[in-house]
Amino acid sequence: MILKAAKFFVVAALAAAALAATACASARNVTESNKTALSRRTREVQRAELFRVSRGRMRPVPVVFSQHGIYQHVLQNHELIIGEHTDYFGNAMSRMGKFYAESGPEARRAGGSASMESRMKELLRIYDLEPALEKCETLYEIWQAVEESKSAMEALPARAAMAANAAVWASEAYGGDPPESVSAQLEELAVRWQPARNVFEIEKNMKELAEAYAEMFAGIAAERGEGVK
């Protein structure tokens, strides 16, 4: 009896582990490629930077925070950087899932770049560090690329909520059939995002975006001659 129970628990544990491994397999691949890209690009850039500061002389392109702070962080903490970066991804995915699950059917039906599928694809694109790292020439730029990716993931659920709700309001304003010009504006706003590296830049971007949406609706109201009620 005890043996049977033990066998059952082992099989259950193995099944759970296998399921968990399958569930995170797709995300894991991107995480691994991020990790590899970060290690490889850091090595390459480090060699170039060491060359620039050789013989005790600073060349025209200086190393920012040489030997300290960001420089050392990027060189030494690959696991930590990738771990944090992956946390942002998981957080953004869960917040977006929550939003689309809890928002009304109209918001879930929002099309184009405001749709859930499109947003999830965008999240994966932001999460993928490889293209951004390829363009980096210094360790500081590598750090910036990681921070920009993290900030974009942080802001994406809020952008998704704004875009989906704006699509619903626009649809309501035009009886379910907004004109092409309004749809184009919504599409443009849904993908609008300036690179941000910290919470202040995220807030600045979000404020500008919220105001742009408000301007759009003020324009619609003026066009339709809506007065104050």
């Binding site: 709700n165 704006a166 304003a173 919220a210 003026a222 009620k229």
Partner: protein, 187 residues
């Protein structure tokens, strides 16, 4: 075999006090038309409170349900009063506190952040919302037509009132705060 029996006896002896311990207080939520009340007390008392709450006159209890519970059942019951979305969904007078951005992101109001009061009103009017001044808002509050469930510390309030849920939405726009850049929604 003997060892197993001994272990079983020891385990039973260790677990007995846990079974003998008095039951922990349970929690229950009473939803009224203007708020949700979370209570913590033993089961018998909770059942008594539930029966009492079912007979509660909503108008008489509005805004002072915590005091009424304490007066009726004493201090042995823990009471927390919340203003929740669920409570706000119920019929009757209700208020949802939010900011312009959070309200827009939750789909409660259209995006009006950064617009002047006049332009914000035209957007709100397009969707059948009423935009009130502070004076109008306070007048309605005094008349009992709008009841603020909690202090509007955040400054900007979306108020939902009417006989049915989401019958009408009133956006209460506070005057521009000192030091804030112009262009914000103001009275």
């Amino acid at each position: 075999m003997k060892k197993a029996v001994a272990l079983l006896i020891m385990a039973t002896a260790l677990c007995l006090p846990a079974f003998a311990a008095p039951s922990a207080p349970e929690m229950a939520t009473i939803e009224l038309d203007d708020r949700a009340v979370v209570l913590s007390a033993d089961r018998a008392l909770l059942e008594k409170i539930s029966r009492w709450a079912a007979e509660l006159e909503p108008d008489a209890a509005r805004g002072r349900v915590e005091d009424l519970i304490r007066a009726e059942f004493g201090d042995s019951v823990e009471v927390e009063v919340f203003e929740t979305g669920r409570a706000a969904d119920a019929a009757g007078v209700k208020t949802i506190r939010t900011t312009l951005r959070a309200g827009a992101m939750d789909g409660l109001i259209p995006p009006i952040e950064g617009l002047s009061a006049e332009r914000a009103k035209s957007v709100l009017g397009m969707f059948g919302f009423s935009a009130l001044t502070v004076e109008e808002f306070e007048s309605l509050t005094e008349q009992g037509r709008i009841r603020l469930l909690a202090g509007a510390r955040s400054g900007r309030v979306a108020v939902i009132h009417g006989p049915d849920a989401f019958d009408a939405v009133v956006i209460h726009l506070m005057p521009e705060e000192a030091g804030e850049p112009s262009g914000k929604v103001a009275e």
